[in-house]
Symmetry: C2
């Protein structure tokens, strides 16, 4: 057993939603004292780094109700029940941007907010992009604007605080490092 482990003494289920569940746990700390932990359970998500033939990064601008504003992000979406992350990545890229891809390579998976949530984001690199002819079939309650930006523009957008989403900032750094290789 990990000597840092916190033992669950009791667990209260507060809420089950469409995307997240909330639990509150009483835990025993390594020193024997007790504390409370607020825990969000999330199904996990994917995000996709997609660069088209012109070398432009595909991004989407969408309203984020939690922030009460729109954010520019790389295409992303949560895992549906039983869905494999690779399939979610393919689906979200198509639904949000209207691009299909020939290849998806796993780059990294990371927890976004380990202090209170178990959301794990799987990041993929899409290659062999092709614009679909038909209109992209967005989710009924999803409204996005597609942006295509160069890496230089993306880095400038970070500097100028037009991008401040963790996975997107990571993706821009990833591509910048790849270019420097």
């Amino acid at each position: 057993m990990d000597h840092l482990q916190e033992k669950t003494l009791s667990r209260k289920h507060i809420y089950s939603g469409k995307i997240i569940d909330l639990y509150v746990e009483d835990v025993e700390l390594p020193n024997g004292k007790t504390s409370k932990r607020e825990i969000i359970k999330h199904p996990g998500a994917v995000a996709v780094i997609a660069v088209n033939d012109e070398g432009k990064i595909i991004m989407v601008r969408q309203y984020r109700k939690a922030l009460e504003r729109a954010l520019v992000e790389i295409p992303a979406g949560k895992l549906e029940k039983g869905e494999k992350p690779l399939n979610t990545a393919k689906r979200e890229l198509e639904e949000e941007t209207g691009y299909t891809c020939q290849n998806l390579t796993h780059i990294i998976s990371f927890y976004t907010s380990p202090g209170f949530a178990d959301e794990l984001v799987h990041l993929y690199m899409a290659e062999g992009l092709e614009k679909m002819n038909e209109e992209s079939c967005l989710d009924e309650d999803e409204f996005v604007e597609v942006l295509e930006v160069t890496l230089e523009q993306a880095n400038k957008m970070i500097e100028q605080k037009e991008i401040f989403d963790a996975k997107t900032a990571y993706a821009v750094q990833y591509l910048t490092l790849k270019m420097a290789e």
Copy 2:
């Protein structure tokens, strides 16, 4: 008004905790349809990239109850009420690692989980590190192990999936890019 905006029709307060609050909103979408949004309110947090005189990155290993496992992360912590992010960064670095620093420079602020939470993480670079003589005074319910790793080791830890925390992966990329300049 942003044409992507979602209008709040009603807002239900579900839970107020030590760290997070949960709301559920009925919203009107741009097409006039309605949907539900589950929203976590969080006070925001800081994270610190700290490299000591030996060129080693200071990291901490701590148990994350939401994941039921320990994670290796850069020092981080949430903002206390009314606390300026710069002061939180200084405090968390001292409390978690036992290092003081002469300078803290803001690198980037990013949202970690914009799909359901408003947590904004402010990332700082600490310079002029000095190990404090006294024992670091950890929060009563915080138990961490301090690790000091080279950039090469940190990159290897990411490859080998020993680090999979978003802000920490970002920090390692940031330092790698800085070295390549």
